[in-house]
Amino acid sequence: MATITAANREAHWARTRNLMIIHLVIWFVFSYLVHWFAPQLNQFTFLKFPVGFYLAAQGSLVVFVVQLFVFAKQQDNIDRQFGVAETD
């Protein structure tokens, strides 16, 4: 594809990388950080669940699922913006 300039590629990759970092930060928080503090979080309740237990049994999972649908949409928008998306 001759139309994609080097500068365009670079800008596209910078945005792609930033999006990846944002999503991995969210992933890190819900994979590790909240579970590290599970004993403390268990002192609170959510829907009558102790929060530390809830996050491991359901909360983190819901975040991951929603996050991936949002990620797919966002990355597609970036690809389109820089003209590197696949033709529909």
Partner: protein, 613 residues
Amino acid sequence: MAFFKKGTTFIENLPRIYGLYTGGFLLFFALMAWFETLGMKADTIGVLFVSFTVVIYAVIGWLSRTMQVDAYYVAGRQVPPVFNGMATAADWMSGASFVAMAGGIFLGGHAYLAFVVGWTGGYVLVATLMAPYLRKFGCYTVPDFIGTRYGGNVTRLCAVLVLVVASFTYVTAQINATGTIAARALHIPFEVGVWFGLVGILLCSMLGGMRAVTWTQVAQYIVLIIAYLIPIFWMSSKQGFGVFPHLVYGDAVSRIMELEPVLQVGVLKPTGDIAAQFPGLKALTVLHATPGEGPIAAWRFITLTACMMIGTASLPHILMRYFTTPTVRAARTSVAWSLFFIFLLYFSAPALATFTKLQLLDPNLMTSIIGKSVEEVSQLAWIKNWAAIGMLAIKDFNGDGLLQINEFFIRGDIVVLATPEIAGLPYVISGLVAAGGMAAAMSTADGLLLAIANALSHDLYYKIIDPKAETKKRLIVARVLLLAIGALGAIVASFKLTGILGAVAWAFDFAMSGLFFPLVLGVWWKRANRPGAIAGMLVGLAAGTWYLYMVKWGGMVPWWGMDDLRFGMVGAAASVVAMVAVTLMTEAPDKETQDMVDEVRIPSGKTILASQH
């Protein structure tokens, strides 16, 4: 069967085909339930459930037969994202997820939830770091990517090595599971059940490769998710928790937490040598929702989570599913759908574990056994049935005639199977659950066997040994290898050597030790080069294996509580250090390779490897 003709009609017809199939399966279930009321025996129902579903998978496998290379390796790259999501979910959820997860939570409490978080969160890594880029690459197998990105036969061979070690560890456990379920449902000896299971698995994959595996896995997902959810909904509504219990089981969790101090869970420990008296059985000694205190407990939780997640993103049988989507965009949405379909089972497992526990503990419920008289409890039908085959035991150690928490022993694996009986559901549910467990184990075994056989036939045979081989010869070699590896797996399983090959978790640790960083850095670090990748794979695999050996058999004290399930932490750390260090000490890759990485990073344009290669 016009449905199965290649081309747009089949793909457009998919929702209708699988809709009909789902309806047909539910009808079969209703029919069995009706037969039970007419007096059909539980055994016959089990046989019908398992044989009916296996025959259907075999028919789909036969209809999907192919002699085309891209259909055999990547299902012709035309699998829509939602269906690929279902196939991945079936590929992913093994017999262990289906049968053992709820039981693990039942016995292990909060600490076991590390598996639930780990086996879902890994998909965030798959989507952001891997799947879309591997799809753009256009490879047939994972070593195909490593071999082309870094170049060289040695590199390709190292990737094949890691793949075979990780996947073979996993596949014997799955063949073992199909054997166990087939043996129990069909009343045949375990050794015969293993071979029966293998025949079923091969019928799904041999003739049609990835294409056949894809369409059978979708069918298997539908069976396994129905089989997991129906008992939960049914039981929950019967016990008065509502039809959709997932949102409201907080009540049950708090009730368990109230009861635990009363029943002295975690305080009363079994006396004497339980392992010798009741092999494989455990008493409930861990609190349900209360995490262990202190940094070591927290560290153990997050290291297990990390191993399962990074392992997920490195396991070739999962990654190769995303080679089958029509576009890069579809690969991304497909990862999201995969996780959604997996989520349906994984967020149900803790609910199931909670209900089962509450039913046994809460003295206000009819089903409770703890605190009741030992004599009365040992007369219950489900206690008698499972105790007869050594899956459960009760013993009145203190002789007070009452059953205490440390006098009831159970095998974690039977929680899913026994729960319908505890709740007094009809036997048709047990048949359904057996069919679901079979589907879960078969679909995973299929994906794994195909990953191994494809790596050997495509990367080792075609790319290294005989690059001039004709299509026909390549596909025959692929099938012979599939048969041979399947047979080897079944032999290992039938000799019951799986205990030696270890836990399913090891497969994740092996994969992350050898493959994670070479795969990720291949896309995300343009500077990464061939010597670095080889060092990363070999040092990672060696360090991980060494640590596993030392901790498991060598008598070494685990570092910071990282036992044999977590050896991937050591392997992956060694892998990244070796890969970065060696890369920086050697020359940067040539311009051609760097341009290739640039092309991989954008979705548009041609794939790196031709569609038939």
